[in-house]
Symmetry: C2
Amino acid sequence: MTVLERKPADRLHDNLTQVQRLLERQRLVDELLHRQDEPRQEPADKPQLVESLLHRQNLTELQQKLAQLHPADIAYILEALPLHERLLVWGLVRSEDDGEILLEVSDAVRESLIEAMDSDELVAAVEDLGADELADLAPDLPRQVVYEVMGSLDDEERARLQSALSYREDQVGALMDFELVKIRADVSCEVVLRYLRRFDELPDHTDKIFVIDDDERLKGVLSIRKLLVSDPDAKVGDVMATEVVTFRADEAAEDAALAFERYDLVTAPVVDGNGKLIGRLTVDEMLDVIREESESEVLNMAGLKEEEDLFAPVVDSVKNRWAWLAINLCTAFVASRVIGAFEQSIQQLVALAALMPIVAGIGGNSGNQTITMIVRALAMGQLQLSQAWRLWRKELGVSVINGLVWGGAIGIIAWWLYHSFSLGLVMTAAMTLNLVLAATMGVLIPTLMQKFGRDPALGSSVLITACTDSGGFFIFLGLASLFLL
Amino acid sequence: MTVLERKPADRLHDNLTQVQRLLERQRLVDELLHRQDEPRQEPADKPQLVESLLHRQNLTELQQKLAQLHPADIAYILEALPLHERLLVWGLVRSEDDGEILLEVSDAVRESLIEAMDSDELVAAVEDLGADELADLAPDLPRQVVYEVMGSLDDEERARLQSALSYREDQVGALMDFELVKIRADVSCEVVLRYLRRFDELPDHTDKIFVIDDDERLKGVLSIRKLLVSDPDAKVGDVMATEVVTFRADEAAEDAALAFERYDLVTAPVVDGNGKLIGRLTVDEMLDVIREESESEVLNMAGLKEEEDLFAPVVDSVKNRWAWLAINLCTAFVASRVIGAFEQSIQQLVALAALMPIVAGIGGNSGNQTITMIVRALAMGQLQLSQAWRLWRKELGVSVINGLVWGGAIGIIAWWLYHSFSLGLVMTAAMTLNLVLAATMGVLIPTLMQKFGRDPALGSSVLITACTDSGGFFIFLGLASLFLL
């Protein structure tokens, strides 16, 4: 049987391994060719001819292998290869797949591929893409290439491209596509079926047909599943659904993705302010939105500006990590100055120096727990600002319990280590107070950010850690100075 | 026109606000009733009757409002309400929606709802669900309810439920459903269309029909899009696709989700070892997998065990955060002991106490950057272990540059603050060395975890921070003791 039997994940890995084996062989042949080249400087002799032949045979084999693969699989291989080999493979890919592959690879890898192409190649690669796909690539393409491609489009496509480019990347308008099937409400299902048969191919993901009136205003949708089981004589207007989840072009892509999840959608119409149908969203774009959203959340938490090409040159990686390291350095410097203000106390009681990182560290951990929960709830729209107060009380309860339990434990250890009961007591009190501070800031920071229209996720982890570090040092050293010295 | 005009996100929010307003009114009415009840202890007089009527009217209004909503919307409202009000609303939901809503709400909220129901209500709520949906709920249901429901199923459904329950939650077998349309290869498209018309309703998300032979083995798939444009006389065997992405029941759900993303799938067949068709995966389940996967990544990074019900009782929240706080306390204690070993040095030069958290902090930040990137690459299958060495060299380069630049900057500041050139030099050297340690552990930890078959994401952030904290203190205080004292 012809149905593929390997698991997709294994198949993907097999492909990569095969390509890597061919590349390795290529490297060996090239090395041989090279070695013969240099020392003797003779004209091409027989062995060299053999290797040169091997070289070409090998490339052909690689090319054939690549020609069999799905563009998404080639994208995967390109992402997993170091720069030099990536460009070698990229040169061997069938040029008609170039556009698709550019769409599939990660932003960082896309840049490296586009850099390696000249304008003509780029124009050839992208001119057959749809307006929505072109709009995805446009920000990464040289300006001149975009103009050239725009010039070759017909008026309708150009208008679509311009419309798609007029929206931000995180808006529905930038993600919608324009290939959709529209019908009128007054025709019969039979007519619709005959109309559909005249297509060579229906647009990807077509699970519903959009029903419009004379002014192109959306009146409802007819799902294909419904169409297939309906009486052929029934009018579209009678079988279509009129309760339709519709989107506006200026809506946040994230909200659209949540709605796709919530209502299990495959495609959905996008309408303008007058209810006119202007495009549609498909679930594959929404999958990408969800993936990217979660990716940027994780990257932000770890202090990375954007996704990184694994094999990016060192300089690019340094740039990507620069910003957060600098911010971190500033907050660490502030915390260091807080300690500096208590240098006399530390000199008198050096145990403080050893114990203070515990207070700061646990505070940071606990604050991050609170802030993560609240940022998530805000992102999913589950938390109204009016309830922040109630949540704060709850977080306060959690932090007091944790402070007394864990702070108590570490206080007893400090007492035992340094033979000072009052030091243990100060430790427990400082831990509890710092956890209360962590809970308070953990609720306050994201809700204030949300209130002032900022993204609550951005930098929240750095901010809370800054508070709990400086705050923790201040509380612990301050209490110690007051009560122990 | 009847097409919905509000943005889905706004509509969702409107619904919640309306329900909250009704609940608030209810609370006021109840308060009035209650106030009259207590102080006077009179028999029901007229004003009380009015309020009792209001009470019932209000509940009816709430009930009607809820009856109009999609189960997913009700789930959203339940998640956003505090426990007491949540249970009030839950009691008013139409009982035929109960099962759907239980499927939609988050795990934490589901628990609170199930706790509030007795066995009979639970059986009634879930007995109409499909085997795959039952399998999703089963782990949260009382054992007795599961048995009772199982008893009421027919043999085929029971076998399906048992099969679904035999897989882990993160395997394809636990997510696949069994509603699918199967045909033979030797019939014509016309026959298929007539066959489909006999269904009352096609299964959700049906975008393709599965073509099987006499032994139920998968021979190919016929996409509905293809069927609609094909010649009615064409044989299914001639128009079906034979290159099909298929899954096995024991495959990881994560891998399946990646394949859905990569190949833009809506549904895909699941086959057993003999190629027999046993179920199908749908994109809505895959959306949930991607969402949950990213969620658990973020929660893990922040040190939360699982997703938390925002309005969970304090005790539940404490339990959820307990484990990571305890681990964090242990690592902080180790770091504190490292400092303790250098107490004499700190006593001699107290500036060390103020500067040491900077070294540890920047190391932690940089290590988290490295480890996050590598964990992601491993999760996406982009990184082979054989390339870890190459990556390590690159990360080393990044860390040396960052160490010299940022370490240099902070060294100059330390020199200026404490008037000691050699202290600045030690600071720069310690920063650079700690960043090198961070890069090394950032590559080593996840690749070793992967090699030994552990999830590289789990606790990676805690581990790297533990290394860079203790390591940073040791390097800085050690260098200072060697060269400054």
